[in-house]
């Protein structure tokens, strides 16, 4: 973006919003909106509190497990749907249903099945992330150029070899796009799961802060989560750009 010939970095728009937030906060219109500067001060409080450290560790633990399982299972499921037409006809509808279903409504059911702890959160993260990964992987597998498959076959490659050496790599841009979306949805999953379980991790913190009207702390925690989701998403996007570079000449 350029204004009067000066290049303005993309982050500049964030500053505008922060100033707006500060102004609204200072007007004292709403209890829910403390000034932005107060939130920044609370940020230090939140980060340094002992409950935050333990909340982060349990949150990262559930997130990593849920996302890891979602990637492994989602990619495998996508491969299955992309390569076996019968499996695709059986599963495609269900995967799409789960993708668009309000999964938050399912969390209480998951809670009954997995208890009031980390396993419920792991399953929630998994449910939020897995379907988009599966569908993107499927799309990638279906779009592998036919001539690359023929090429591998003409040199005597088996089905397995073709899958490992050609399909996985040719579908990599779509797989990574799916994982990036899964990463972001997973953050949603970990927060919603913990909010509903509400006795562990950042969910417990959120509950504490809002029950005690600690709005500065509440917003500070929200900022941290946003920053986390964006950062992880950006990291995957960087990896994606690298792969796209190699896959750029796809014909």
């Amino acid at each position: 973006m350029t204004i009067y010939g000066y290049r303005i970095p993309m982050m500049a728009s964030l500053i505008v919003w922060c100033i707006l937030w500060e102004i609204v906060g200072r007007l004292d219109l709403l209890l829910l909106f403390p000034p932005f500067s107060d939130v920044l001060v609370a940020l230090g409080d939140v980060v340094n509190s002992r409950s935050f450290a333990s909340a982060v560790s349990i949150t990262l633990y559930s997130y990593a497990w849920g996302l890891g399982l979602a990637i492994v299972f989602g990619v495998a499921l996508g491969f299955l749907m992309g390569t076996v037409p019968v499996a695709d006809r059986l599963l495609n509808m269900w995967v799409n249903v789960f993708l668009s279903a309000p999964l938050s409504a399912l969390v209480p059911v998951i809670m009954i099945l997995f208890g009031m702890g980390a396993p419920t959160v792991i399953v929630t993260v998994f449910m939020f992330a897995v379907w988009i990964i599966a569908l993107d992987t499927r799309a990638g597998v279906l779009h592998v150029p036919a001539s690359l498959l023929e090429m591998a076959r003409s040199f005597g490659a088996s089905r397995w070899t073709t899958t490992w050496k050609i399909v996985l790599w040719a579908a990599m841009p779509e797989i990574l796009a799916g994982i990036r979306l899964g990463v972001i949805r997973g953050v949603k999953g970990v927060v919603i799961g913990q909010l509903l379980v509400s006795i562990i991790g950042v969910g417990a913190l959120f509950t504490t802060y809002s029950n005690n009207f600690l709005m500065e702390h509440f917003w500070a925690l929200t900022l941290i989560l946003f920053a986390f989701a964006l950062t992880v998403g950006q990291l995957i996007a960087l990896l994606e750009a690298r792969i796209d570079y190699y896959a750029g000449a796809r014909s």
Partner: protein, 271 residues
């Protein structure tokens, strides 16, 4: 040049008069798509060792289908293909394919792409890279071994495809319109290089093209296919001297007459 036969010559008669031993034989091949689209009808051909034969015809004559059947990538509806006296059931190490759209892996370097045929055959990395390096050099890409396909021009990409096919040391090279996706200048250079390559590599070439000039320029023999349904229309043996000067061929009256004659034969199938 011998074009003694009428335009509806029976190809079987031709085969009987062959001198060299056939390395590829096509016997009674039919190909029907979707139950009713006849792509190929009763194809009987033999290809002799060490020669370059072009399959020439307008689009829709099934020339690529025939080449892919010989490659083992497609199954004929009826009939059989023999390679070195044995009936084929799929792709085999004695045949290598060069693809129209190059079929290079965009995530792999030139060297790995060129070595990929060997990689799939389980040749150890050191050995296959050595072989690939040799052929990358032979097709004129020395210095580009570590580049990626998208860093190369279309013509250079097809050279990688050619190096890959040469590296597996197959007896028969099947080329599916290999020069059609590159520009005219590169194409001419390619045709000249192909003639030179034949002097170094003792291989049998099957070459699919829709360009009459290209077919006449590079081939020992042209098989003319006619469309709907695809069948052998004529077999033309060429006798064009390919000396030191590749440009001389294009001015050879023999070459020009043959191009003209084939064009007259093919014109009736165009609408």
């Amino acid at each position: 040049m011998t074009m003694a036969e009428p335009i509806v010559a029976a190809p079987e008669r031709r085969a009987a008069s062959d001198v060299a031993a056939p390395i590829v034989e096509v016997r009674g091949v039919h190909k029907i798509y979707n139950g009713d689209v006849v792509a190929l009808k009763d194809i009987n051909l033999s290809f002799e060792e060490g020669r370059l034969t072009s399959l020439l015809g307008p689009s829709g004559c099934g020339k690529t289908t025939l080449l892919k059947i010989i490659a083992g990538l497609l199954e004929p509806t009826a009939g059989e293909v023999m390679v070195k006296g044995r009936k084929i059931t799929g792709p085999g190490p004695e045949r290598a394919f060069v693809f129209q759209d190059f079929a290079l892996m965009p995530w792999a370097t030139v060297l790995r792409n060129a070595a990929f045929g060997l990689e799939l055959r389980g040749v150890p990395a050191k050995e296959r890279n050595e072989t690939a390096r040799h052929y990358v050099e032979e097709v004129g890409l020395k210095g580009f071994e570590e580049k990626y396909p998208h860093e190369l021009s279309g013509g250079m990409r097809q050279r990688v495809g050619l190096a890959r096919a040469l590296a597996v040391n197959a007896d028969v090279l099947l080329m599916d319109e290999p020069f059609s996706a590159v520009d005219e200048q590169t194409r001419r250079k390619f045709q000249e290089d192909l003639i030179r390559l034949r002097e170094v590599e003792n291989k049998t070439f099957l070459f699919v093209t829709h360009s009459i000039e290209e077919a006449v320029y590079v081939s020992d023999r042209i098989i003319l296919l006619s469309p709907r349904p695809g069948r052998v229309n004529n077999v033309i043996d060429l006798d064009i001297r390919r000396g030191d000067d590749p440009e001389a061929i294009r001015r050879d009256p023999n070459y020009l007459d043959t191009v003209e004659e084939i064009w007259r034969g093919i014109k009736q199938y165009l609408d």
